[in-house]
């Protein structure tokens, strides 16, 4: 691997920075109202939003993380690809259309369409901000490590560069700039992945069976490499992780927010189809990235570059395509990180500025101008907090932070979304208890898990025995979120059947969607 910057690397990085800044400048002229800022005026088409969803979703954890995991652990790494994809069915079947029909800018808008209470809104905002921060720290720590490795600059400078870029996009270009950065990133990422996969397939003589045959002897794991069990040996833990992956996506604030950028439920639907095809093809290709890296780069070299395997894809690009492809893929990884963190800043800012400031503190009495100003201040606040946290979190495991964010999203957000849309008896108390139980149980269970506690010094943050033997507690915390909402509902007598009929009509017919938005 080249140390320091080559000319081609600088060229690609500058090209991406330049292109995205031009987009931001163009978008800034189209960003004047709060609706422009948070939802690009609701004017995205199905394919645009579909690509943007893919760009928002395929994080560095997907691109670098899964490629590395497949390279090091064979099939076990591919579990992530399967979970992250099937998750789109939950989004499509259960969440996307009712969400579009009921909400305006945030998840809290959608829940308060039924329960007009600042307690509900505040709790939803709290859970959104928590998820955003965990996810963002993961992305920033990953970004810092990656750029440090690629360009040979200090970790803190790398984090600051990414931080400044993401803040610039969001601050000046709002959702329009963020969406287009995500669309371009999705195209670049697909291009890079397809090129590498093609080169890998070529090495195997364009035969899948040859590839599998050669992979049987390509690593020191032998035939076991092609079967599950290299990494995940605790059945319950594996199942728990897969629950978090499939249910978490439908509760991720930055993904949910993307459904407000289209004009109606039908467009929301078509954007999920676009996203599912793109994301699915990408995840299939992670097999080639991973196998290719294991075969043509080799486990030792991958681990030497980064213990978690994050450098597998760039190193593979270098092995098969030389310096140009290596530089291109690194720049793509950079764009990938920028697009995801920009989306996260925006969703965190919407919870802070729209929910907490605009709706709870000012009770909705804010002018358009104040809303946009608040949104910008909120974006800077979220960006600064996450940069500071990321600077202190350099040693945390990125994959763990991402899976934690998925776990909280599935435990705190999904139950309340499902109950709000589909359960007549559900009430304000239930909404609050559902979110709090999910959020707190996910956080507490992780705090007593092997991620934090390990008897061997240096393996985790603290030395000691974990209370539960689950690295991902979704199998407990998701049911707890549902249970919390259920019990909270029954404990309170409140029940508004009339309001539920209204929500049911809106969710199922899309009537009034123009009144609640744009």
């Amino acid at each position: 691997m080249t140390n320091g910057m080559s000319f081609t690397a600088i060229f690609f990085f500058v090209a991406i920075v330049g292109l995205t800044l031009v987009i931001t400048w163009w978008a800034s002229k189209r960003t004047s109202s709060a609706s422009d800022f948070y939802t690009a005026g609701g004017g995205l088409t199905g394919w645009q939003n579909g690509l943007a969803i893919a760009g928002d979703y395929l994080s560095a954890a997907s691109f670098l993380g899964i490629a590395g995991a497949v390279a090091l652990f064979g099939f076990d790494g591919f579990f992530f690809s399967i979970g992250y994809l099937v998750a789109y069915l939950v989004v499509l079947y259960i969440v996307a259309e009712p969400l579009r029909n009921l909400g305006k800018f945030t998840l809290a808008d959608m829940i308060t369409a039924r329960f007009d209470s600042s307690k509900v809104r505040g709790t939803a905002a709290l859970s959104t901000i928590t998820i955003v921060l965990f996810y963002m720290i993961a992305q920033l720590v990953g970004a810092g490590a990656l750029i440090q490795l690629l360009l040979g600059i200090d970790y803190w400078i790398a984090v600051l560069i990414v931080g400044v870029m993401m803040t610039t996009y969001v601050l000046f270009g709002g959702m329009t700039a963020t969406s287009w950065v995500q669309i371009i990133k999705a195209c670049l990422l697909m291009l890079g992945t397809v090129i590498i996969s093609f080169l890998v397939l070529k090495e195997f003589g364009f035969s899948i069976t040859t590839m599998f045959k050669e992979m049987e002897t390509a690593t020191d794991s032998g035939a076991a490499y092609l079967n599950p069990g290299l990494k995940y040996q605790n059945g319950i833990d594996t199942i728990s992780m897969l629950i978090a992956l499939v249910l978490g996506t439908a509760g991720l604030p930055h993904i949910l927010m993307r459904f407000f950028t289209v004009k109606d439920a039908k467009t929301a639907r078509s954007s999920v189809i676009w996203a599912t095809w793109i994301v699915g093809i990408f995840y299939i290709l992670t097999i080639f990235l991973g196998f290719g890296a294991a075969k043509f780069v080799g486990k030792e070299e991958i681990i030497a570059a980064n213990a978690a395997g994050n450098m597998a894809a760039p190193l593979l690009a270098e092995a098969l395509g030389g310096d140009i492809l290596f530089s291109f893929v690194c720049a793509v990884a950079f764009a990938t990180i920028l697009a995801v963190v920009a989306g996260l800043v925006l969703s965190g800012a919407s919870a802070l500025s729209h929910d907490i400031y605009g709706q709870i503190i000012k009770k909705g009495n804010v002018t358009e101008k104040e809303q946009v100003l608040a949104a910008r201040i909120g974006s800077i606040t979220i960006a600064i907090i996450s940069i500071l946290l990321a600077l202190g979190a350099q040693t945390l495991n990125v994959a763990f932070l991402v899976s934690l964010a998925f776990c909280i999203a599935g435990s705190a957000n999904l139950p309340v979304i499902i109950y709000t849309i589909y359960w007549k008896r559900f009430n304000t108390a239930g909404a609050v208890t559902a979110m709090l139980t999910g959020l707190i149980s996910a956080l507490v269970l992780v705090a007593v898990s092997p991620n934090i506690w390990n008897p061997v010094e240096g393996k985790a943050i603290f030395v000691g025995n974990p209370l539960i033997n689950l690295t991902n507690p979704a199998i407990i915390s998701v049911p707890l979120g549902f249970l919390g909402g259920f019990i909270g509902t029954l404990l309170s007598k409140e029940s508004d059947a009339k309001k539920y009929r209204e929500v049911e009509v809106k969710a199922n017919t899309g009537i009034s969607v123009q009144d609640v938005s744009h």
């Binding site: 099939f75 591919f78 579990f79 399967i82 979970g83 994809l85 099937v86 789109y88 069915l89 939950v90 499509l92 079947y93 259960i94 259309e97 029909n101 899948i208 069976t209 599998f212 045959k213 992979m215 049987e216 035939a223 092609l226 079967n227 599950p228 069990g229 995940y232 605790n234 059945g235 594996t238 199942i239 897969l242 629950i243 499939v246 109606d264 439920a265 039908k266 639907r269 078509s270 999920v272 189809i273 599912t276 095809w277 699915g280 995840y283 299939i284 589909y422 009339k498 009929r501 209204e502 049911e504 009509v505 199922n508 017919t509 899309g510 009537i511 009034s512 969607v513 123009q514 009144d515």
Partner: protein, 111 residues
């Protein structure tokens, strides 16, 4: 979707729509479709880690060196894309019914 009729300022009588028989039928049909499909795809998905963790059925070779676990996974990908398109087809027909329900409401029921 049929929302052009909902002009700003016009109060919509949601109860009237909710009480229309056609609306009740649509909601029942839609929910039973959505939830039964969700149970099916989640079951198919969760079966994978259960089978790989507690049995070795999927560890056997299917085609050449390719083991059944890859075939099952490929099946989940195909299932995901397939169910996406089934959903769209179904949702388009639900859209038509929703449109008819709103038309019915505007022509009589509500006002």
């Amino acid at each position: 979707m049929a929302n052009n009729q909902a002009n700003k300022g016009v109060v919509i009588d949601y109860d009237a729509i909710a009480n229309q028989e056609s609306f009740k039928v649509l909601v029942r049909k839609k929910n039973s479709f959505l939830w039964s499909m969700t149970v099916i795809f989640l079951a198919a998905y969760m079966l994978l880690p259960i089978l790989t963790s507690y049995t070795t059925i999927l560890h056997q070779k299917a085609f050449g060196e390719i083991t059944w676990v890859w075939v099952y996974s490929a099946g989940l990908f195909i299932m995901t894309w397939g169910l996406c398109h089934i959903y769209v087809a179904k949702a388009n027909s639900f859209d038509k019914e929703a449109k008819a329900i709103i038309a019915e409401y505007e022509n009589g029921g509500g006002r």
